[in-house]
Every structure is written in C-alpha cells, then in structure tokens.
Amino acid sequence: MSGQTDTSRVVTNPTGEIESRPRKLSRAEKRAIAAKNRLSSPAASVIALLIAALWTVPTLGLLITSFRVESDIQTDGWWNAFARPLFTGYNYVSALETGLGDNFVNTLVITIPAVVIPITLALLAAYAFAWIPFRGRELLFVAVFALQVVPLQVTLIPLLSLYVDLGIDGSFWTVWLSHTMFGLPLAIFLLHNFMKDVPASLVEAARMDGAGHVTVFFKVLLPLLVPAIAAFGVFQFLWVWNDLLIALTFAGGDATPLTSAIADLAGTRNNAWYLLAPGAFLAMAVPLAVFLGLQRFFVRGLLAGSVKG
C-alpha cells in the first residue's frame, strides 16, 4: 500500500510525496478494505460518536450562551435555551463596541505579515541549505534546527529591552519581528525537508540551461512546494492568531490583538459572560473557518511539524 506508507513517512520524516502518483490507486484500495473490514459492531460507531459529542458540549454551551439575552444568561444555564428559545445577536454588537472590533483588526494586521514574512525568509534559507553547496552548510543547518529548542520565555525580556532601546516598543513592528524570528527555525527545517525531496535532475536540468539560483528557486522549486507552503502557512497562521504570550509582552495600546484583549476582559469583567462568550467566538471564528476549509493541509503541517512544541 504505497499511499499508506507515505502517511507513515510523514509522521517521522516529512516529505512532499503525498501527492505522488500511486495515491488514487491506494485510495480506492483503502475504500475496498474499509468496506470489507468495517467494524461489525455498530457499538463502536455509537460510542465514538457519543464521545465526540461529549467533546463538543463545552464549546456548544458557550456558543449558545453567546446568543442568549443578557438577563437569561444571568438567570440560568444555557441548556434552558432549548425550552425557552430566545436568541439575539446583540451580545456580539456589545462586544464589538467595547473595542473587540478594533482588536479583531489588530489581530488581522498582526497575522498576515507574521505569516508571509517568515515563510518567505524560510523558503530562501531552506533553498540555500538544500541546493547551494557551501562550506559549513551542515553545521549551520543543524544549528538552526537546534534553535527550535529555545522556549519563547527565554527570549522575551532581552527582546523587550532591545525594542525599547530602538524606540519601537508597543508597535506592530515588534510583534511582526518577534513572530518572524520565533517561526523561522521550524519553518526552515520543514521547508528544507520538503525541498530536499525535489528530484535533483529537475534542478540540474535548469542549471544546465544556464539558470542561476534565483531563477531555479522561482521557476523550478516554488511551484512544486505549494502544498508544503500551504501546510506550514496554516500552521503559522493558527499559531500567530491564537498566540497570547507574545501579544501580552509586545503588543500594547493600539496594537492589542483579540487574545490579550479577551484575556484582559476575562480578568476585569469576571462574570460578564454576555461579553466573554461572544468575545471567545470572535477569536475562534477565523481559525475555525481556516481549520474547516484547509483541514487537509493543517493535518499535514501537524504531522510534519510533530517535532515542534
């Protein structure tokens, strides 16, 4: 089963070969096997679905709460909404008016460059590590790989004083820079692994035609790497969008993103569930949409990125 071996390879060693030729065949085979072996006991299906439902109840509860009238939220639990359905979108309006609308814009403004820039830089570096022979290449690559070990916490205070010295503290620049720096080691490592798997004959053929490194990079490698870029892109996107630690440390005032604004709200307005519930879902909406839309890439990035913490 070639398709299945591919999956196992992704777990331990990411490659770009998932889309390779035998896939269609293996899928059909898989389906045949699945039909043959489908667990005879429907009990397994029922138990699995029950657990899945149980897993979803906490989220569902807060979702329903976010649409209940404020006085109802204060009076009794969300399960009563099934007996007395009275829903409103007003909580979302209030949440946006308390400033979460601005924070949403900030999160967006933070996330896009913080995804685009590290991926671009990592692609270039990964290309050099994979396809330009130079002295000390292995050593340098291992060093970059090893930097994944560094926990964010170790870097925050020196970086903050550096930003203060430069006079850019609290601005979007610090957040973009920080996410870029922290994302690079994993990005370089993963993209390098994908890039290494491009057949050498393709690269050599282009070089024979007189193409320089820049041309080879853009014309030969980049088009082949689109799935890998998407995989890491989704990964980095969710990481930046959902981040709290960097946001709290670097993004102040007008640059405050959703996560730290909501965390702040949760501390100061402890029981204001009519604000906290819609706030949580404002923060969750985009990642959930990305997750549902690009699940295939996300899973792949996850399988490939299992090394990262």
Partner: protein, 329 residues
Amino acid sequence: MDWLLDADSTAHKLALMVVAVLAFVVVMGVILFAVDKPKRVPTWLVVAGFVGPALLLVTIGLVYPALNTLWLSLKSPDGSSFVGLDNYQQVFTSDNLQLVLRNTVLWVVLVPLISTAFGLIYAYLVDRTRFESLAKALIFLPMAISGVAAGLIWRFVYEYRPDQPGIEQIGLLNQLLVWLGLEPYQFLLHQPWNTFFLIVVMIWINAGFAMTVLSASIKAISDDIVEAARLDGASSFQMFRSVTVPSIRPALVVVLTTVAISTLKVFDIVYVMTGGQFGTSVVASEFYSQSFRQFNQGLGAALAVLLFVLVIPIIVYNVRQMRLAEEVR
C-alpha cells in the same frame, strides 16, 4: 517615523500592514537581484543573500536573548548586581515555587499520558467505522482554537454560583452536581484539585492532536500483518496490544514528547482561568508573573532558563527515536 509607529485607525493599520509587506518584498527583491548574476557573483555572496536575512533574525531574536537571559538569571531582581545562583536556589527552596514545580510535574506527566492514551484508544475505536471523519473532526476541533478561548469555554463549564434558594447554576458541571443532589463546588478555587481541573482543558485540546497522528500511523500498518494476526485467531484486544501498539511505537514517542513540550510551556490556559492564583501556577505562568507583574527579572530569567533546561532532554530523546526509526526503515 511616527506614521510607522503609531497606527491608531483601522485604515492606518491596514495601510501600515501593506507598507510593511511591500517594504519586505522590495528589500528581498533587491537582495535577490543583486546576487542573481551566476557568473560574476561569488558563491558566498549568493549564500549570504539567501540565508543571511533568516540567520540575522534568528541570531537577534533567539541566540542573543537566550544568552542574555542566562546572564540575567544570575543577577538581582532589577538586574543591577550579580548574585550567583541565588535565583536558582530560590526556585528550588521557596515554598511558593516548590508548589509551582510540583504543579508543573503534574501537568507534564498527566497531560501527555492521558491525551496519548485517549487519542490511541479513540483512533483505534473509530478506525474504519461509519462517521469516522465527522467524529475525528469534532475531537480535533479544539486544536484549532486559542488557549484563551479554550480557557473561557471551560471556565464557563466550571462556573460556580452560591448554593442559595432562587439561584440557579449556570455552569454545566455544577448543574450536574445539583441534579445529582450534591452541593455545587468551586472547581477553580480549591487546592490541589483545581490544578487537575485545569489539566483537563489541556487534555481536551491535545487529545485531538494525538488521535490525528496516531490514526494516520494505525492506517499505515501493513495489511499483511493485520491479516496474519487475524488468521492466527487474535482477539481484538490481542490485536491492539500485540500488533497495533508495537507497530506505531515511533509515532507514540513523537506524540508523547510533542505534547510534553507544549504542556511544559503552557501559559494561556492558566492565565485565563485562574491567573496562576489559588495554587495553580506552573513554571511558564510563574515566569510571566515574576517578570512582568512583580518585576523580579532575575527570578523570572531563572524560571525561563529552567524551562529551557527541561525541554532539552525531551527533544534529544525525540530526535534519537526519530533517527532510530529512520534507520529501521
């Protein structure tokens, strides 16, 4: 300059974002254009053009700060005088911080073990059943949301209202307790159990990750082995123990270590749910409160270094296992 630093309106912010991305593209374009003369430019310059920007950022953003923090951890709270290993001594001897260490151990042991066990059993249970993809997507969903949102979702589940006539519980768990005829319980307040209720949240998030990775490798087990075991008359349980688990051992190691590392660094869940109060603090959250709330930079740095030191053996083990697995293949 001010325009670049103080963006306060939505239009201004969006414009700034576009400017930043464009500036980046232009700078990179210039660098690449400069090195794109295959014959006239020496290799080292080409390499510098490709690797240089990334290396520069990694050095400024990771190498320098890590060394600097190491240095800070040997200094007094405000960083003015040298105190040797005093901060580390404090980490291991003060009552408050011993509690933090104990909590961290609980997290790092329980979260990986339970998430992985659950993920494994669930992946095995759901494999090749109807609704497999739906069931898996629902378990996996928490993986996509932030710790902040997850923390709020669960704070609402644990929400407590005083046990008085006329007051209804709005948190699901306390309502269940009341329905069972018990008294409502302050889940997030009572030590040491509150730590376990926080750990549940992390398990809720990571089980989906474990399940996804393990499910992929269960599907990769060769059909020949499965068929042979079946012909030998292996029961479901024997099959699970003697075929499934040994076959996916490398994936199990990856999952355990990955979850352990992310658990070690967990911060947002604790921050949102208890703020590290009521004896629930862990090393990562204590680092934050020492560094940014109590302005005890020396101690904060020592905690950060501790985190660093704790991560290393886990990663080394992980990489070693990966190497072994690759050799076998």
